[in-house]
Amino acid sequence: MEVGMLPISASKRGKLLAAGYTSLHSISRASASQLATDIEVSEDEACEIRKYASQTSALDRSIGNSSNTSNLYGGQTAWTMLNEEKFSTRITTSCVDLDNILGGGITCKEVTELGGVPGIGKTQIGIQLAVNVQIPLEYGGLGGKAIYIDTEGSFMVERVLQIAEACIEDMPEYSHHFHNNVQDCEVKMHPNSILENIFYFRVCSYTEQIALVNYLDKFIEEHKDVKIIIIDSVTFHFRQDFDDMALRTRLLNEMALKLMKLARKFCLAVVLLNQVTTKYIEGSYQLTLALGDSWSHSCTNRIILFWNGDERHAYIDKSPSLKSASAAYSVTTRGIRNSNSSCKRIKMV
């Protein structure tokens, strides 16, 4: 019931308090013209303030009223969400073991962070996802487009072409999993059309990165079929000469919130690739994902990619719904595929 909660400028808030309006109830009780004269603003502005006040207090009232369960100012019941989650789509990673521990693939409507040492295959997974999101609906994919935000310059077009060609060749395999009665028709996709559906942005500073995340809302409104946003990597520009660490944390948090909002609003997946750094824990140096401790709370899911002997593994470090497990995968000329080793069992931790 605080006046401080209203999204208006500080000076207007100050005037409200000075005029004696300390609660939202008192604001909505007063008429617009009375408010206008009391705090010396125009009538339009007074109407706006009253509107904000009534919206916020409606939320407060409904919380107390248990029978008014639906439409709680944008809230949903858990039951509706369950139905949504059942049908929520996932993007395959082309590696069966990895898909299994992810519950089918990378989830839409969530922000997933993938981090690992240099050379583990982060960019490769990013490119594979940008291609896999375009798998048509008949083959169990999303038939969507991808946005690839490159901050390091590691996007190799020839590699995308290679992975796209392999994906098209392997596509009939996917149809077995989903629709057994689909005729074995020739896949009409051409690798160039896959390349055409990847929107590429090259970001050269953290300012551009933040500006781009802000702009994505408008961009995706105009390109509604984008189903995945990949940022490779989210760390790079925030790591080089950033003196004010507190500022960095604030900016990263705001960026993460905006990305989560985009994910939910447009039902797409957001994949953030992160680097590693060393940290002194419990008497020895250990690897940990970069950007600090507060960043580690920002993403919904966190997957760490690491070397286990000679094999590449992925480990689910943090997820609200997935079990902690690790799976092996490999990077081949055709993209991300199952690992060839004999111990292919998924390890539950």
């Binding site: 999204p7 208006i8 400028s9 500080a10 000076s11 207007k12 040492v117 240099p118 050379g119 690839y148 390091e152 310059g153 590691s154 190799m156 077009v157 020839e158 590699r159 995308v160 290679q162 160039n192 390349l195 055409e196 990847i198 929107f199 590429y200 942005f201 090259r202 050269c204 500073s205 300012t207 551009e208 933040i210 500006a211 781009l212 995340v213 408008k218 790079f236 790591r239 080089q240 000469d241 500022l247 604030r250 900016l251 705001e254 680097q275 590693v276 060393t278 140096y285 250990q286 690897l287 940990t288 760490i304 690491f306 070397w307 286990n308 002997g309 000679d310 094999e311 480990y315 390890k347």
Partner: protein, 342 residues
């Protein structure tokens, strides 16, 4: 982009003036504040802040391209679709044509493995005319350890491209295209980089080689933290040089022995140690690429040069390097072997 002035962005005058009044002049200033902070500082409502920021973000945002356009552009505008062929068949195949333009490629290996020789060959290749598969351009060679030998360069040239080098005056022209800089300290190196930037703008330079990065840094600082920070600026600068001028940049790196027995691991790995790493691991020398993990993240391609049983072997297929060996160098295990024509 980041330093664009807000008043030139076409915002409505009322809000643009407020930004200036509160000393938020460039886009970077505005984007470095969260929306809430802006609301407080500018003393305007959230809706106005959001629309102003949306406008500023759209102006500052980088342009959108599709991957297809990118590919077509490279194929059309650049030699070998944006690659410098190294003439090592396996390597060129693995790299889709050769060392890519616009990125930093790192060569890592123990002393005496042939990093400088490889760099000499690359500088030759870049200076050759286009009909011989070269880039027909100048090369800047930053030689920190004074290892550049012109005599050896001409020797390589004569042996590999006799049809050019034995022609009168050609050797002089080819060698004349390679400029060697010899900075003796990090500050001199920084200065040379600025000069390099100017030459790049004149568009004649087609390759930049830094041999070696490690020697510059390891001589300067003692403690690890400041060394990483020092490199931070250089890394970004070198990467942006590569990017804007679309040339390949090759950097050599040394190896150092690693303190401690095992490679670094994550905290969740501590529980499940690999039971047997086979005795070879404990007896071989543990070498790690120098300059740390931050540098390793920044380079785009890392080529690890190794010797197998004392010889550089010949094989047609490239085998991928696996395991933490990408950051650690052992003397056994799976290695990448490439065909060499030297």
């Amino acid at each position: 982009m980041a330093n664009k002035l807000i008043k030139q962005m076409g915002l409505p005058n009322s809000i643009a003036n407020i930004f200036t009044a509160r000393n938020i002049i460039t886009a970077k200033d505005a984007l470095s504040l969260t929306e809430f902070e802006l609301m407080e500082q500018l003393d305007v409502g959230m809706a106005e802040v959001k629309s102003a920021m949306a406008h500023i973000s759209e102006v500052v945002c980088p342009p959108c391209q599709t991957a297809l356009l990118l590919m077509e552009q490279r194929v059309r505008d650049e030699r070998s679709a944006g690659h410098l062929p190294t003439r090592l068949r396996g390597l060129d195949e693995a790299l889709c044509g050769g060392l890519p333009f616009g990125v930093v490629t790192e060569l890592v290996g123990p002393a005496g493995i042939g990093k400088t020789q490889f760099c000499l060959k690359l500088s030759l290749l870049a200076s050759l005319p286009a009909n011989c598969g070269g880039l027909d351009g100048r090369v800047i060679y930053i030689d920190v350890e004074s290892k550049f030998s012109s005599r050896r360069l001409i020797q390589i040239g004569i042996e590999n491209f006799p049809e050019i080098f034995l022609k009168k005056g050609m050797a002089q022209e080819m060698a004349g295209r390679i400029v060697i800089l010899r900075p003796t300290s990090l500050s001199e190196f920084t200065e040379s980089l600025h000069h390099v930037q100017v030459s790049l703008l004149q568009k004649q330079v087609k390759l930049l080689i830094i041999d070696s990065m490690a020697a510059l840094v390891l001589g300067e600082h003692d403690c690890g933290a400041s060394r990483q920070q020092v490199l931070g600026w250089h890394v970004s600068f070198i990467k942006s040089l590569a990017e804007f001028s679309r040339i390949p940049i090759v950097v050599t790196n040394q190896v150092r022995s690693q303190t401690g027995d095992e490679p670094l691991t994550f905290s969740f790995q501590a529980r499940s140690h690999s039971i047997k790493k086979e005795d070879r691991a404990s007896y071989d020398s543990h070498l790690v690429a120098a300059l740390g993990i931050n540098w390793a993240h920044a380079v785009t391609i890392r080529l690890v040069l190794e010797a197998r049983s004392g010889l550089v072997l010949l094989d047609d297929d490239g085998i991928e390097m696996k395991g933490s060996e990408i950051n650690t160098i052992h003397c056994q295990g799976q290695k990448a072997l490439f065909n060499s024509e030297w």
